[in-house]
């Protein structure tokens, strides 16, 4: 069956969030592995770091305000962990 549009949007949003946090907040590319083996959610933790940096509401979730910032054009230098 064709993917429902909402699922497609969600998939795109997740890809945006993951690549943004990998590029600028040092999210490890194998963070999913961490999810299964050690518990905790590295992606949510990094998302909180990003939301704190930009003065957004710290939810650990990719809410609309967070996605808006992630879509902005920007400098390629990471915000943390240089």
């Amino acid at each position: 069956f064709p993917v429902a549009p909402e699922d497609e949007d969600e998939e795109k949003a997740l890809q945006l969030v993951e690549s943004y946090l990998q590029n600028f907040y040092d999210l490890q590319r194998d963070h999913k592995h961490h999810l299964r083996s050690k518990g905790g959610n590295p992606l949510a933790a990094k998302l909180k770091e990003m939301q704190t940096f930009f003065g957004l509401q710290v939810t650990g979730k990719p809410d609309l305000d967070t996605l808006e910032i992630m879509k902005k054009s920007r400098c390629g230098v990471p915000d943390i962990g240089q």
């Binding site: 920007r74 400098c75 390629g76």
Partner: protein, 168 residues
């Protein structure tokens, strides 16, 4: 303002720069003017001076590049990542890379080259990203008319904390 981890800084105040190549989207003279104006943003408030060199290694090498340009940080095409720069140091240290696939301009359309280079030079001199939304070193792009641009106090405080105030 935030210093780059490890507080790297140039050990000399008299730095050199070189423009390795030019975007075809702007006149060469306009690229040069944007670079000079961006450098003066920082030299106006510190003892730093910048001298242009034509054909040898400079402290700050400025170039336009496509996608993978062999520094482990590939560009991503139009929009998204506009440019990046490296902290003070030998070799690639201090260098500024600009994504050639961006719509570079000298005005408010596309991405203003002066604003982006001025930001990247902050990295070249040892500053990291500031979380002050009004700072030049804030990570996301926002346009200011170059003729009205004044370096924000957060950035002045940061760069003077590294190099001191201007001798002028």
């Amino acid at each position: 303002y935030v210093f780059t981890a490890g507080n790297p800084k140039w050990k000399r105040n008299d730095l050199t720069y070189r423009i390795l190549n030019y975007t075809p989207k702007m006149r060469k003279a306009d690229v040069e003017a944007a670079v000079q104006k961006a450098l003066s943003v920082w030299s106006n408030v510190t003892p730093l001076t910048f001298r242009k060199v034509e054909d040898k290694e400079a402290d700050i090498m400025i170039s336009f590049a496509y996608r993978d340009h062999h520094d482990n940080s590939p560009f991503d095409g139009p929009n998204g990542q506009l440019a990046h720069a490296f902290q003070p140091g030998e070799g690639i240290g201090g260098d500024v890379h600009l994504d050639e696939e961006e719509a570079w301009t000298k005005n408010g359309r596309g991405y203003n080259l002066f604003i982006v280079i001025a930001h990247e030079l902050g990295h070249s001199l040892g500053l990291s990203h500031s979380n002050d939304p009004g700072a030049l070193m804030y990570p996301t792009y926002s346009y200011t008319d170059p003729n009205e641009f004044l370096l924000p106090q957060d950035d002045i405080d940061g760069i003077q904390a590294i190099y001191g105030q201007s001798n002028a």
